[in-house]
């Protein structure tokens, strides 16, 4: 690998501080909102329920206090920006959270994406940096992917997994972490897997994901797995496969639209806060596991998308670019990505793609855990469990203990 040049600009502290004009623009839009009708007893079947939307929109117009949540985010999450140069795309200003533990510890980067954001790190952050003689501690970096949060978006076509991986990697180097580990879900899973294949084992030392995927021959691999060998699957595995099938047949339309005609969709998301709320809230509800979303929580997530630096449409393009980057006939589920660094899997039962753990076999698989509850937003829904998994994986006795040569994550030398 050619030597990587350091980033060209310095770290600048960042605080979210939306201009009043944006908040008053939102209020104006909300006051003009036109809602569709709804068929009686549609429930969740036709999409987001009207009563939920009415309640959320009413709250957004009156009662929801953005400044309060903005201040909390700023207090909880130390944020920065810096320029990262991406080959062929120029310099992008990247927004990220960075918090160091007080010890000499492991380094970690977490990658997030839609409809999650850097906000997803908020609950695991204090747990990760916490020090103890009983478990390792981490320095934590969580970036806003280009096009998300307060990161710049790429201006040109073709910004795909390799580019997102490059951003993550260069950010870590820029922060002085020339050896690091990662945790990722959703796009973060694919991006950190790409990082592992590009930058491991020299820089990227180990990776953990809550969305393990592996190449399947084709979708019907799942369908064909169900009937006959079905009897061999445990109830849990069967339920996971059913979840996966349901996702593909009924729950992945957003993926199809975003990967085929993101701009066409993007006009309504950019122009209608109600439309954006419906689009994102559908996901928050559908792919989480009975997580008791508070209205203000939902509104904060959606506000971060609405007021993101690049606008809500930019966040859709990762779907298009990654799908288009695959060779003819292949897809996310069929693409092989060989990695040769220690990897850990956490299985949460309501994840959108839940494959049987015994379909994964790799000499590098050093950690696995199965959970009884939890869905797609593991870091947000199950922070304690997820961090527990990471502590086990990277702690003493764990499969990835001491992967970072300079430190093992404990207060005193082991």
């Amino acid at each position: 690998m050619p030597p990587l040049t350091p980033t060209i600009s310095r770290e600048t502290p960042f605080k979210i501080d939306l201009p009043d004009s944006q908040l008053s623009y939102l209020q104006k839009k909300l006051s003009l909102t036109t809602l569709p009708d709804e068929l009686p007893e549609s429930g969740l079947d036709y999409g987001v329920p009207l009563s939920d939307m009415q309640r959320l929109l009413a709250r957004w117009s009156e009662g929801y206090d953005w400044r309060k949540h903005e201040a909390e985010l700023n207090a909880d999450l130390p944020q920065f920006t810096r320029g990262i140069d991406v080959a062929g795309f120029g310099t992008l200003e990247i927004h990220y959270v960075h918090k160091k533990s007080i010890t000499n510890t492991l380094k970690q980067v977490l990658a997030f994406s839609g409809p999650g954001l850097f906000i997803e790190v908020r609950k695991i952050l204090p747990l990760l940096v916490e020090t103890s003689k009983d478990h390792p501690s981490f320095h934590v970096v969580a970036l806003s992917l280009p096009g998300y949060g307060f990161s710049e978006a790429p201006r040109n076509k073709g910004f795909s997994l390799a580019q997102y991986a490059e951003v993550g990697h260069k950010l870590m180097l820029a922060l002085g972490y020339d050896e690091y580990v990662t945790q990722g879900g959703d796009w973060g899973s694919l991006i950190t897997r790409k990082m592992a294949s590009l930058y491991g084992p020299k820089y990227h030392k180990a990776w953990h994901t809550n969305l393990p995927i592996r190449p399947l021959l084709f979708l019907s691999h799942i369908i064909s797995s169900l009937p006959i060998p079905f009897l061999e699957y445990t109830p849990r595995e069967k339920s996971g496969l059913e979840n996966t099938l349901r996702y593909y047949t009924q729950g992945s339309a957003y993926f199809a639209v975003q990967s085929k005609e993101p701009q066409t969709l993007g006009y309504s998301l950019a122009d209608s806060p109600s439309g954006l709320l419906a689009w994102i809230y559908d996901k928050l509800r559908r792919v989480s596991d009975n997580y008791p979303w508070d209205d203000d929580e939902v509104l904060t997530w959606v506000s971060l998308h609405l007021f993101s630096r690049a606008g809500p449409t930019a966040a859709l393009r990762i779907y298009y670019e990654v799908v288009r980057s695959f060779p003819e006939g292949s897809s996310i589920l069929t693409m092989e990505e060989r990695t040769s660094i220690p990897v850990g899997h956490s299985y949460f039962p309501k994840e959108i793609i839940s494959l049987p753990s015994r379909w994964f076999s790799s000499p590098y698989l050093v950690f696995e855990s199965q959970h009884e509850s939890g869905g797609h937003f593991a870091a947000y829904e199950k922070p304690v469990e997820l961090v527990d998994d990471l502590r086990k994986m990277f702690g003493r006795g764990g499969g990835a203990f001491n992967v970072v040569s300079s430190s093992d994550g404990y207060l005193s030398p082991s």
Partner: protein, 416 residues
Amino acid sequence: MTAPPDPYPENPFRINVSESQISQLQQKLALTVLPSELDDAGWAYGSPLPDIQRLVTRWKDGYSWKKYEAELNDELPQFMRDITVDGFGTLAIHYVHKRSQIPNAVPLLFVHGWPGSFIEVRKILPLLIETSAEHPSFHVVALSLPGFGFSDGPTKKGFNVARYAEVANKLMLSLGYQEYVTQGGDWGYYVTRAMAVEHGGKHLKAWHTNYPRSASAIHPLRSPLKYLNHLVKPYTVSEQAALDRTAQFAKNGRGYIEIQCTQPQTLGFGLSDSPVGLLAWIYEKLQTWSDTNTYKWSDDEVLTWVSIYWFSRAGPAASLRIYYEATRSGDRDITTATWEVKVPTGVSFFPKEFHLPPRRFLAFGNLVSVAEHTEEEGGGHFAAYEKPNLLVGDLRKMFGKTGGAFGAVTGKNGYN
């Protein structure tokens, strides 16, 4: 002597969008927020920003809905009629109805699709009505499907294709057309197919479509000779081009359909609230599904098509539900039903239709008329609107004196 009472009295209707609706649209347009776009995006990611910017600007300043509303009212005699649907109560149905001068003209029902509307009949209407010794004449009915245009939307779950077919059939019967023929593409195909299956022979006497979606006739057991022939006979250049285009659309052009089939409400919030959102969603289809080599949409034309959705009686979100209901009911299944259609069937192929099976694939029970239009002739998905002369030409052949469906309707062959 007074004229006998009209046996089938109708309630005339004129579109009359209110000032408050128009000013609400203007208020929203004034607050439009546009997304960014990648450099040199062109059409690759969807509706291009320069196009949408231009259209929004026109919609705000210069485009006059009232002007086009008046034109529609002048050209298209419209009516409203209450139709009762089993299990769904009564729906107020908006339709166009114009009779030929010849009393025994062939009654024809035209059924639109999505993102179309009753407006799609506007150019074929005068041609169909036209009387001549050389070709048949038609009485024309064109309804707004429930949930579209100025028809009520269904107010209960489960309004699937059979229900749309029921509305259309009952409308024709209520107008005194005990026997009639149909023409339809897009959803018009599915609705008229259901009508042909349900009422074929009794009421629906012949059926024409420009959007043939049938199960393949090539089957090793059902049609072994055809199958063998298919194995050895290569595709023609134009068949191959059509297959490629079909595959391309199947791969890249089907994002909209998945969301409309599975979570129409989730999409519907944005389309109901954002005029530019609705515009972009529909515009993409108007451009990519039509033959832009031979048909140039004017900005005002696009805006009129979109405004019909924006000002529709049931709202834009309601129009998406046909996708959901049809999917849930298995209505979009193409492997059945077409074999069972025994009434005379006619098909027109237009070169830029996005689903274009080779002719040899067609599996209809009684195919009497096939028209294939060349690249030069042109025409895409919105055949009645893009190529009215060609489509009406095909219908005149099918129903003309030497056509396979001549005299399909008892006593009404379209000639004097």
